[in-house]
């Protein structure tokens, strides 16, 4: 069996204690294959964001373990986690993805710069032109449209060739056409560049771009769907609420 890009084993995350105890993740075990585009769906409070945050090493588990590649995150120090993030993990957030004082290209190469690594400019140029930002490289975020800003964010996530990219509602702030472009691009990054992406979304259309949809409710995995279509996903979520 090939190594998973990331996985959890019996992952539980509990906030608070006693009466106010909230079980955000309840004994979740799941793996993400390399070069796979996974969407995680679920209603508010289902634990989908918590799952992503614990997978990315931003939030420690209460019990269980998570792995990026072969590395178990629970045993890492805060510094090691940071280094792991900048080498092996890419992030795309819903908004405010970019550092306002840096140009587009500086934002893209930021994780590599922080690691004092050598930026692979051929690769970066390739990524930049693929996302269609070749003529926007030296613009600052406030000179870019929302869609362009998200494309910069995607390019940044790709630039360091991470083992896995976590995307948190990456199209949540975009109109459907611009959002579609971003999702198209994310899918092609998986197909053509072999990238692994885990995306949290509540949008059935966005989920339909993925290879597999994982449904969460009350901190537990309740279902999975391979090669989803928007309609199928939509039907499934409707039933989840019951």
């Amino acid at each position: 069996m090939t190594t998973m890009a990331a996985r959890t084993e019996g992952a539980s995350k509990i906030y608070g204690s006693g009466d106010t105890e909230v079980r955000a993740l309840d004994n979740v075990s799941i793996g993400f294959n390399p070069s796979e585009f996974t969407a995680i769906m679920g209603p508010s409070g289902s634990g989908k964001s918590t799952l992503m945050h614990t997978l990315a090493g931003l939030d420690p588990l209460t019990s269980g373990s998570t792995y990026i590649g072969d590395v178990e995150l629970g045993s890492l120090s805060e510094k090691e986690l940071t280094l792991l993030r900048r080498q092996k993990v890419g992030f795309i957030f819903q908004a405010f993805n970019l550092i306002p004082t840096l140009t587009a290209i500086e934002n893209i190469t930021l994780p590599v710069d922080l690691a004092k690594g050598q930026v692979d400019m051929t690769w970066v140029d390739n990524v930049v032109s693929t996302v269609g930002l070749a003529d926007r490289k030296t613009h600052r975020p406030d000179e870019l449209s929302g869609g362009q800003q998200q494309r910069v964010a995607v390019a940044r996530a790709l630039a360091s060739k991470p083992e896995i990219i976590f995307a948190d509602e990456p199209t949540g702030n975009l109109d459907s056409k611009t959002g579609g472009e971003i999702l198209d691009f994310m899918r092609s990054a998986v197909r053509e560049l072999g990238q692994t992406i885990v995306m949290v979304t509540h949008d059935a259309v966005a989920a339909s771009y993925s290879d597999r949809v994982v449904f969460l409710a009350d901190g537990k995995i309740v279902d999975e769907m391979a090669n989803p279509t928007a309609d199928a996903v939509f039907d499934r979520i409707k039933n989840l609420g019951d």
């Binding site: 945050h53 805060e78 405010f96 550092i99 840096l102 940044r156």
Partner: protein, 840 residues
């Protein structure tokens, strides 16, 4: 609305604290300034009441101040005693610069408190309290005040050399110790050596005379009647006043000192407050920028612009009030610290209570509340202009003033400031006070102009300052550099405190360096004499004779001088030994000679031009004794560093001024005598005069320089407070910026910035802001220092000298300030919880 404001304040305690810190410091300083001077004054008042408590009347000569009254004849004592109703009469003499030398050869410093020789009549009206031993009643005895005795190594019964200006060194036996009849714990500072009256008169240079006569009367006698009978006995230049009046006069004698001292402290307090005002203004501006969405929301739900403005002003009022209270409490403590600092520089203070007068509290309130509210006014007005739409906008943030308008307003203020400064420096004033006011106003306006204009300089300067940091600090450095220039107004507003502080410090430093280099140039170019002998005051009698008698010493001249009317105007006329002066000092005598044959004068060229005379012409001098004499101009010199504008030969000087007083003397070693031998002979002959300063050129220069350095150190310690405020300002801005950039910091952390890199980024930003402030401040300091050095007459400061090394040290200090200021904000930034930060 009020409730909302106060809730907001309570919720943001840190914001509140940071804003008030600057005000607190300013108030602290003002309160300390008043409390210290009030304390001094009330102590002096208590002491003087005690001293004069035994006297009903005091007879004394008239004169411009306490130290230059004419004496009264001693026969008056007997005449006053004969007046019916008078019960007790005692004459008193005193003279400064009278001191005994202890078993270790040490004595009170000439630059410390006064060292008085006084008379001891044994009459209780003198109000001396014998503590140990006996009072002096033989011509070869003396008693010491307890403080002097305690501070030095004396033993009662032993014989010591006591030196006075009039009597020179003389041996006396110590009989006992005493204190004035005043509270034990209070010491006013001066030290006293007491002698039996006749000895005191002779030794202190007032034979058959008294300075004051103390008189007590029968309580049943008619005081007015007695006073007029005494008055009838007095010569024209003497008065009789009551004991209370004498006590008040004693205190009034120090009023000038109190006022000047307080003015100095308040000037420093003003600098601190001025700098604080910028800090408060900057903090409010940043806070309002951050609250723009909240303010927009308030406007959207119906708050008027006026209400928004009021809410900000109420916040300022609350900050001002609380800071005033804190500052006042701290001020009482700071007063003690202030005294300790000043004492560490050699000043001496009485130990007494430090009263908090209502006036002090009022000033604290005015300063604390008013300064805060004025500083907050512009930000408050800006807050009122926030539109309801801002609540909904994505980006938020207040627009910074446009550069065009900024340049125009700043330019106008700058022109006014520069004009004021230049007029203050070079304009003609009759008195010093208006000049200082104009100069101060000019400086204040110049600094305001700097505050308005400096945001324009942020981008270019940060680009330069930030370049090495970006190169050295990699990504963290680059981010820091762009963070520093993302809001020029904020960066400039933060740096302006440091700019002002360092501008003042470097101005003072440059003037000091210019002073020193002028002295050193003058010494090496002008003075050919080997030795300089000076005293605090006049040289004691006999010194000139001692030195003249030494075979190891060659040429000598004395410096002495007194006021006379030269061509109808009051002038200081110097007396020099014309026969030797040319071999001791080279004053660039470009015309004529020093003619010691009598009736000749040499003039400074500018003064000769002013009088319209040349070599061979005559100048009329009218001496204080009424004698008018024509002097022939025998020479004209060009270098007035060491000479005053007009000199006559020392023999003429003694004859016409009827005085043998000598201010200082300079001498050279005799031909063929080694410097070591000459020096040894000189030191040996003057062994009995420890108050004399015998110096060679290098020592003289060194001492002058160290005196200048000491003065600079005192000034810079106080100006350094503004640097402390600048530090608080940077902490303030960084903390607020970190808070504002929470999301951004979270993102940086998420994409792999380590805590260390975050800390580094904040630190570098802080350093950039500090260096920006320093560069601007030192730049201004160089301009001010240059202008002021140019304005000071050439005989004091010939040309401006720029101590590059020291100025560089200031830049390094600014870097340190930046690093220290960044410690807490950097830690805060690094500790942010990533998840909370990115979801905020």
């Amino acid at each position: 609305m009020l409730k909302l404001t106060l809730r907001g304040l309570l919720k943001n305690k840190i914001r509140f604290l940071l804003t008030s810190l600057a005000v607190v410091l300013g108030v602290t300083f003002v309160v300390a300034a008043f409390v210290v001077t009030d304390g001094l004054r009330s102590t002096f008042e208590g002491v003087s009441q005690d001293i004069y408590s035994t006297q009903d009347f005091s007879v004394r000569g008239t004169g411009p101040d306490d130290f230059s009254r004419s004496p009264v004849p001693e026969e008056l004592v007997g005449q006053i005693e004969a007046i019916p109703g008078v019960t007790n009469v005692s004459g008193y003499v005193e003279a400064d610069q009278t001191y005994p030398i202890d078993d270790d050869g040490e004595t009170a410093e000439p630059f410390g408190p006064p060292r008085f020789g006084i008379s001891w009549s044994g009459n209780p009206i003198d109000n001396y309290l014998l503590l140990e031993g006996e009072g002096p009643d033989e011509p070869d005895e003396f008693a010491l005040d307890q403080n002097f005795f305690d501070d030095f190594n004396f033993t009662i019964g032993n014989t010591y050399v006591v030196v006075s200006e009039a009597g020179g060194p003389q041996e006396f036996t110590l009989t006992g110790t005493f204190r004035f009849g005043i509270e034990d714990e209070v010491s006013v500072g001066p030290v006293f050596a007491a002698f039996e009256p006749e000895t005191a008169q002779r030794f202190l240079g007032l034979p058959d005379q008294y300075q004051e006569i103390a008189i007590a009367i029968d309580p049943s006698a008619n005081a007015d009647d007695v006073q007029s009978q005494i008055r009838a006995l007095l010569p024209a230049d003497a008065v009789v006043i009551t004991g209370n009046e004498a006590a008040e006069e004693f205190v009034d004698g120090f009023t000038g000192f109190f006022t000047a001292f307080r003015a100095i402290l308040l000037t420093f307090a003003f600098v601190v407050l001025f700098v604080s005002a910028f800090l408060i203004n900057n903090t409010f501006t940043i806070i309002i920028g951050q609250r723009v969405r909240e303010l927009g929301l308030l406007r959207a739900i119906g708050a008027t612009g006026r209400q928004v403005r009021q809410s900000v002003m109420i916040e300022a009022l609350a900050v001002g009030l609380i800071s005033t209270v804190l500052g006042t409490i701290l001020g009482l403590g700071a007063a003690r610290v202030l005294i300790a600092i000043l004492e560490s520089f050699g000043a001496s203070f009485p130990d007494g209570p430090l009263p908090l007068e209502p006036r002090t509290i009022i000033w604290a309130l005015v300063v604390g509340v008013l300064v805060t509210m004025i500083s907050a006014y512009l930000p408050a007005r800006k807050a009122a202009t926030v539109s309801p739409m801002e609540a909904l906008s994505e980006t938020g943030g207040l627009e910074e003033a446009r550069n065009g308008r900024r340049s125009i307003i700043g330019g106008l203020v700058a022109i006014a400031g520069i004009a004021g400064t230049l007029f203050g420096l070079f304009g003609s004033f009759d008195e010093a006070t208006p000049r200082l006011i104009v100069l101060g106003l000019g400086a204040v306006l110049s600094f305001i102009a700097v505050a308005i204009l400096s945001p324009l300089l942020v981008k270019p300067v940060v680009a330069v300052v930030g370049a090495p940091i970006a190169a050295f600090g990699k990504r963290a450095g680059k981010l820091a550099s762009s963070n520093a220039s993302r809001s020029p107004q904020r960066t400039a507003g933060t740096a302006v405190a440091l700019t002002i502080g360092l501008a003042l410090v470097s101005t003072v430093t440059i003037i000091g360096a210019s002073l020193k280099s002028t002295v050193s140039d003058a010494l090496s170019n002008t003075v050919t004499a080997d030795y300089i002998v000076t005293a605090f005051g006049q040289l004691p009698e006999g010194v000139l004779e001692e030195v003249s008698a030494l075979p190891e010493i060659g040429d000598i001249t004395t410096f002495t001088g007194e006021d006379a009317l030269v061509a109808g105007e009051d002038r200081y006329v110097e007396g020099l030994d014309f026969s030797t002066i040319s071999s001791l000092i080279d004053a660039d005598l470009t015309e004529g000679t020093y003619d010691s044959s009598g009736g000749n004068t040499v003039l400074f060229r500018d003064y000769a031009d002013e009088l319209g005379v040349g070599v061979g012409d005559t100048v009329n001098i009218e001496f204080p004794n009424g004698v008018k004499e024509d002097f022939t101009v025998s020479g004209i010199f060009d270098d007035n560093t060491f000479f005053d504008s007009i000199s006559i030969d020392v023999a003429d000087h003694q004859r016409f001024f009827e005085s043998n007083e000598v201010g200082a003397l300079i001498a050279s070693g005799a031909d063929g005598v080694s410097p070591a031998d000459a020096r040894a002979a000189l030191d040996e002959s003057l062994e009995l005069y420890p108050q004399l300063n015998v110096q060679d050129q290098a020592e003289f220069l060194e001492e002058t320089e160290s005196q200048i350095d000491q003065l600079l150190a005192i000034i810079n310690v106080f100006l350094g407070l503004s640097v402390l405020i600048a530090l608080i300002g940077i902490v303030n801005t960084l903390t607020l910026s970190v808070f504002e950039r929470t999301r951004e910091l979270g993102l940086l952390r998420a994409v792999g910035m380590t805590r260390r890199q975050i800390r580094r980024m904040v630190r570098w930003e802080s350093v950039i802001v500090a260096v920006f402030g320093a560069v601007l401040g030192i730049g201004l300091g160089v301009l001010f220092g240059w202008a002021i050095s140019d304005a000071i007459p050439d005989d004091i400061v010939a040309k401006a000298t720029f101590p590059i090394g020291q100025l560089f040290v200031f830049v390094v200090a600014a870097v340190l300030v930046g690093l220290i200021a960044a410690i807490l904000p950097a830690r805060r930034a690094a500790k942010l919880n990533i998840l909370e930060a990115i979801s905020s």
